[in-house]
Symmetry: C2
Subunit: 370 residues, 2 copies
């Protein structure tokens, strides 16, 4: 199967900017992570915040995932509508409208949510109807990210007891997401942060065990630390970015200097719209096409080696061409590797899935207002 290439006629006909997804690289990334999970004996519940795509979630499920993690109820609704089971919503939520929407999803499909405060549990209970299936609730533990999650053992045990005591709820286990550790470039620093998070999570697991509530589920992790987390205490990994890779995760290396075992699959297709100055060209992909909270793209297909991208407004980017190299001509197409994959995906309505010289549209679901 030929890979992604600008020789393909179909990429010359798409209106730009457009999000292009290389199916070959995507599937290899999914298989590689699935194999890692199998070898380590740890389950995968890949995170849909990265792709917001029922199509990609189905590929992950077919590769053996036990379910899919979601950041929002809207993401979970889109996946449930595609028949995906094992949904876990990884953000504690508040608000009657949100609780009602979540309760409806649980009624129709079954879902697991997390909480870090009794008020969230009370709110969820108020939204459940008599006769609803039991809502699974996990305790979110702050393992160092300082964002959400209980911070002391007694509070964690009390929250688990409250959940377990409610007939309409089921205590599902614990979640610890070390978001702060995922992007630490120095391998030793990343390893140390991961070890601290693991120790925190383990102390909660032990305290809950001592209280007669041993957690079935110990969930968390991400693409930056999955190799470390697969050794425990996690029994499932919420990996997300590995499906696409991006400029951020391209910087992550292990102690032997090895990068992650995944290839870039996500690109912004852009057109050269101005060649008004020597040494640079202007393309029609800017801050509305690529997320700005990541390093510069590390892959640009269709421009000379060493070409650098910089943002130049809502609709423009500048490619700086190395001295002496021939710039892409006016009207030429380039494929710009994702900066930060999750928020880049969120800027687009669909993926243009490239496979074997053809393109298929895969919708991006659960954006705000969907």
């Amino acid at each position: 199967m030929p890979g992604l290439s600008l020789d393909s006629e179909v990429l010359l006909q798409l209106e730009t900017p457009a999000l292009v997804l290389d199916r070959g690289a995507l599937e290899r990334n999914i298989q590689c992570m699935a194999e890692t999970g199998r070898q380590a004996g740890v389950a995968l519940r890949p995170h849909a915040k990265t792709h917001k795509s029922p199509h990609i979630a189905l590929l992950q499920m077919r590769a053996g995932a036990v379910g899919i993690a979601c950041a929002t109820v809207a993401e979970a609704e889109a996946l449930a509508a595609a028949g995906i089971t094992g949904l876990l919503i990884t953000s504690p939520m508040m608000g009657a409208a949100k609780f009602d929407r979540l309760a409806r999803l649980n009624r129709n499909h079954g879902v697991t949510v997390v909480a870090d405060d009794s008020a969230q549990v009370t709110g969820l209970l108020a939204a459940l109807h008599p006769g609803d299936r039991r809502l699974r609730v996990a305790v979110d533990v702050d393992v160092g990210q300082a964002r959400t999650g209980v911070t002391d053992l007694a509070a964690g045990v009390a929250l688990a007891r409250m959940i377990a005591a409610e007939p309409q709820l089921e205590f599902a286990g614990i979640q610890g997401f070390a978001g702060h550790a995922q992007h630490i470039i120095d391998p030793e620093g990343r390893k140390a942060a991961t070890a601290r998070s693991a120790a925190t999570l383990m102390s909660f697991a032990k305290a809950l065990g001592g209280a007669g509530l041993p957690p079935d589920l110990i969930t968390g992790s991400g693409t930056g630390t999955y190799g470390l987390d697969a050794r425990g205490p996690y029994n499932e990994l919420q990996v997300g970015s590995y499906v696409f890779m991006d400029a951020d995760y391209a910087r992550i290396k292990d102690e032997r200097g090895q990068g992650l075992s995944f290839a870039p699959s996500l690109f912004a297709l852009a057109s050269v719209v101005s060649t008004n100055r020597p040494g640079q060209v202007t393309v029609d992909a800017g801050t509305k096409a690529l997320a700005t909270n990541g390093p510069s793209p590390c892959v640009i297909i269709g421009a000379p080696n060493g070409t650098a991208y910089k943002f130049a407004g809502d609709e423009h980017g500048i490619l700086t061409i190395p001295n002496g190299a021939p710039p892409p001509r006016l009207g030429a197409r380039v494929l710009i590797g994702a900066t930060h994959c999750d928020p880049t995906v969120n800027l687009h309505r669909s993926f243009n899935l490239f496979e074997n010289g053809n393109v298929e549209q895969w919708p991006i679901c659960g954006r705000y207002g969907d």
Copy 2:
């Protein structure tokens, strides 16, 4: 009319995160800029890249704008469908699909576009049908932003001659957008950059006059420099961000230390979803709700004075509460002022227009894939 306030029941019922627009502040901003234009004797063609909203464009037209500037054909299509005339597309474009879409828009509604290369003009010509109304084309001039636009006088005159010689085209004038000058914080530096841009644009106007093609239209400017640009050589101003203001433009001051004459009207409404640590709360508005390419929000309604916002992932932000001040409670709502307004708007499907205690949905149009 009571202003935007979290005492309003309707803001407690919206699902978060949501984009909230204060109609009072919006209308005052629109009137203030319209009055500035009238007093200076310069036309306004406000830029829709900021709001992507036919509703807001109609308010601008009712306040006396001669038309609306658009960054993309999709934005222009959405405005044309709402009956808005005087559309100018401010980005040179390339690609047969884009040219066809543009030609269709011109056929049905009439439009002005810009070009900085003969290949763009040739492409546009090829897309026009016999009997189409004449397409108005302006020459885009690089006034120092180094993004698009002709960079030398001879090339500018040659391009204008090419346009003027084509029976299906009309030479509309020149555009010079000093994007690089808009956000210069130091007033002297901003003034100097604006003077250099003005001199460049004036030299093109003179050269074209000498060639028998004096430009009717001299268009450009933005919210950071409109006061300087209103003195010339511009005869119309493409101001955008003034309708909303944001943390970026809040830093802009004139030589007397005066800020811009516009008030913040655009906010992300968020819920406090975790209060797990003292001195901070976590809200459900992160990098998918607020653009990351701007300073931290300078207005947060519903939190103590001195509260600071920082991004904490796709769906989260952290509010750091000043020592001793009472933090918002779990489940409370806060209104977070826009970081950078254009790309923040682009993250949402609609504005929740707040007026007098009620909310109305105003769609955000022309996002990629629309």
